[in-house]
């Protein structure tokens, strides 16, 4: 009880001098409801089982810690991909430098505009998927986001969209504490790719709610920005209809703290979900802590889910994976797969994994594997014995290790783009 009181007091400390943003009727209700839920559950604290491996203080405290801007003349990821680009500067959508929000088979609107209206299609989704994702595990930082976010876009997809939409987050100055909330509705049979890249702010709290209707397909590929000191918490809440498909891949290199939660509810039969990630952390450039927390609920027949996470860690970097598959009693013929692997390049780094299966149906196939290890010395010797220098051989093995996660990206061009980023990282961090 004492712990809960402290967590609730933490909410007051965080929001006491913040007013709910102004908006139309539906959004005001959603924000009030989120604030009430947040006040009831309190902010995450160190003793919470769900935050056992990741300290939440930097994400919960009232003022964000400043993060230096990364100086690089490198071209941003996805810049060679034909895409519709929406630019957020320090967490604020800048329409002047964004592409026009018009494309076939998709309606794009800033959250602020949708929120100003009293009635809007997004009212059935905004905060609704987040609310549903609070059971059985509470995710207070997502409720905080629903209550306070004014930035974001709402996207309604009605057919096969010709180009991906790319949310490009850039930083202009130090001191931004951003909160962004996007909603995507993929209608029956529609097909859409969402890209996200860039660090966004000193600290960002991001929520993405995705509703994929029957037969719809949603692809999501994101990179989280290389600013060494940035901190981020993100939540994806997805609801999948019959025969729908959801695929999300995340690349994380650098960043002092990253917590990515993904909550997927498979509600229609024969749906498919893949959630994957590659992470490369080097503690020599500053603290590195990256956490993937996934919860997939199978609540329909004959659905397939895959979780594939690979983390390469060195110089005191920490990687965390908490992945759960919950198969409800009526979710027969479920096929659930989960793999999480850590490659530690030295003895100072750590990979903490908690794979979980909770199964109530009796005709399912669920497998999970979690491994942690060092570079394979036999393979390393084989490569060096052919004349490949030790460092280069090690890089080849690191990239080979991460490749399994990259294979989950369907688009060859995007996969290549991501691979190039990783190759550059490996080269920069060569010992």
């Amino acid at each position: 009880m004492k712990a809960l009181t402290a967590k609730i007091q933490a909410v007051e400390a965080r929001v006491s001098d913040v007013d709910l943003p102004a908006g139309g009727k539906w959004v005001t209700e959603a924000r009030k409801s989120a604030m009430a839920r947040l006040r009831a559950m309190g902010l995450p604290a160190r003793r919470d089982e769900y935050w056992k491996f990741t300290r939440p203080e930097e994400l919960t405290k009232a003022d964000a810690t400043e993060a230096a801007l990364l100086e690089t003349d490198e071209k941003p990821v996805f810049c060679d991909i034909d895409r519709l680009r929406l630019v957020f500067v320090d967490g604020v959508l800048d329409t002047d430098i964004s592409d026009a929000m018009a494309m076939d088979h998709i309606e794009i609107e800033p959250l602020a505009e949708a929120a100003a209206k009293d009635i809007h299609w997004v009212k059935d989704l905004y905060g609704a998927l987040e609310t549903s994702g609070q059971t059985p595990v509470e995710r207070p930082l997502a409720a905080l986001n629903t209550a306070l976010a004014v930035q974001g876009v709402v996207l309604r997809v009605t057919g096969k969209v010709p180009r991906p939409v790319c949310l490009h987050y850039v930083r202009d100055k130090i001191g931004a504490d951003a909160m962004v909330h996007h909603v995507v509705k993929v209608e029956d049979g529609a097909d859409f790719t969402l890209l996200e890249n860039g660090p966004a702010a000193d600290r960002i709290n991001k929520v993405l709610e995705v509703d994929v209707a029957d037969g719809g397909a949603f692809h999501h590929i994101r990179t989280q920005g290389r600013d060494h000191e940035r901190r981020a918490v993100s939540h994806i809440f997805a609801r999948l209809g019959k025969e729908s498909s959801f695929k999300s891949f995340t690349l994380t290199v650098n960043g002092a703290l990253t917590r990515n939660e993904c909550v997927i509810e498979m509600l229609g039969d024969d749906a498919h979900a893949t959630i994957s990630g590659a992470c490369a952390g080097d503690g020599a450039s500053g603290p590195f802590h990256q956490d993937d927390t996934v919860f997939i609920t199978h609540d329909a027949v004959n659905c397939e889910s895959r979780q594939v996470f690979k983390k390469v860690l060195r110089n005191g970097a920490t990687g965390v994976f908490q992945g759960k598959i919950l198969v409800k009693a009526d979710a027969q013929k479920t096929d659930g797969y989960q793999i999480s692997q850590g490659l530690l390049l030295d003895e100072n780094s750590q990979f903490l994994a908690k794979p979980e299966l909770e199964i109530y149906a009796d005709d399912v196939a669920c497998s999970h594997g979690s491994t942690v290890g060092a570079i394979d010395e036999t393979a390393l010797f084989y490569l060096t014995s052919r004349g490949i220098p030790h460092n280069q051989a090690q890089d080849m093995l690191v990239l080979a290790f991460l490749a399994q996660a990259l294979e989950e990206i369907e688009s060859v061009d995007i996969r290549e783009d991501i691979l190039n980023r990783l190759e550059a990282w490996v080269e920069r961090h060569r010992r």
Binding site: F381, Y382, T384, S385, R386, G387, I388, H390, L397, A400
Partner: protein, 251 residues
């Protein structure tokens, strides 16, 4: 070419002496074979020469054209012209065979101050060499040795050898796990590389391989030492009588 004098080696982590004073001289263009009972130290010698970790050289020396091999990293030994065909070629998921080969060839060229092969030239070369070893293009695209049969792995070793054009080739039980046809194919690959200058050290348990790759000298190794050397007839003797007579002779 290769000169080994009084080489003594123990395991790094335990007090177990494996090589107890090996002497071996291989001249340019020569083919030497080493036979010997299991556990006599044959593979250990090939690993120590190519620079595998886990061993400690306690005495002796090994030089390649006068260069101190034991003082070099494995990649430098390779660039200097040493090649080991592994008894158990290693599977490396995620690394393409072609990428691996090209990186290896160009790393060695770079180390020797030679110009690197262009992608086109490399491709042309590897295709020609692969064809003569009956390695199809699919195999080149696959990850290194992953899903290869025993014979394919050994052929892949010979392909690497052909691409890297070493001065001194050590073949560690290259015949193990090969059927008659595969052994012939691999042997032909090796023989194609014999040019009067390149030297070979063939480690084997069976005389049969030596019918295909004809040695100049045969050595018998036992208990960490070379105990007898002779011509090809020595291999035949082992094939017929086993090691018992030779071991008894020495004692």
């Amino acid at each position: 070419m290769l000169s080994i004098k009084n080489l003594q080696v123990k395991l790094e982590d335990e007090d177990k002496q494996i090589l107890k004073g090996v002497d071996l001289e291989i001249g340019p263009g020569e083919v030497h074979a080493i036979m010997g009972p299991n556990g006599s130290g044959k593979s250990t010698m090939s690993y120590v020469l190519s620079g595998k970790g886990g061993y400690e050289v306690t005495a002796g020396e090994a030089t390649l054209d006068g260069m101190d091999l034991l003082d070099m990293e494995p990649d430098a030994r390779a660039a200097a012209g040493l090649f080991l065909a592994f008894q158990y070629p290693v599977e490396i998921p995620g690394v393409g065979n072609m990428t691996f080969l090209r990186t290896a060839v160009n790393s060695q060229r770079k180390a020797r101050g030679e110009e690197e092969l262009s992608a086109a030239d490399f491709l042309k070369l590897v295709r020609a060499k692969a064809k003569s070893l009956k390695i199809d293009a699919e195999m080149l695209k696959r990850p290194v040795n992953v899903g290869f049969s025993g014979g394919e792995k050994k052929r892949n070793e010979i392909l690497q050898m052909a691409m890297l054009e070493p001065k001194m080739c050590i073949l560690d039980e290259t015949d193990s796990g090969l059927d008659v046809d595969a052994m012939k194919l691999v042997s032909e690959g090796v023989n194609a590389l014999r040019d009067g200058k390149r030297s070979f050290l063939v480690i084997t348990h069976y005389q049969r391989l030596l019918d295909h790759i004809k040695p100049d000298v045969v050595h018998i190794m036992a208990n960490g030492r070379m105990i007898k050397s002779g011509g090809p007839e020595l291999a035949l003797e082992v094939e017929h009588n086993g090691y018992a007579d030779i071991l008894a002779e020495v004692v």
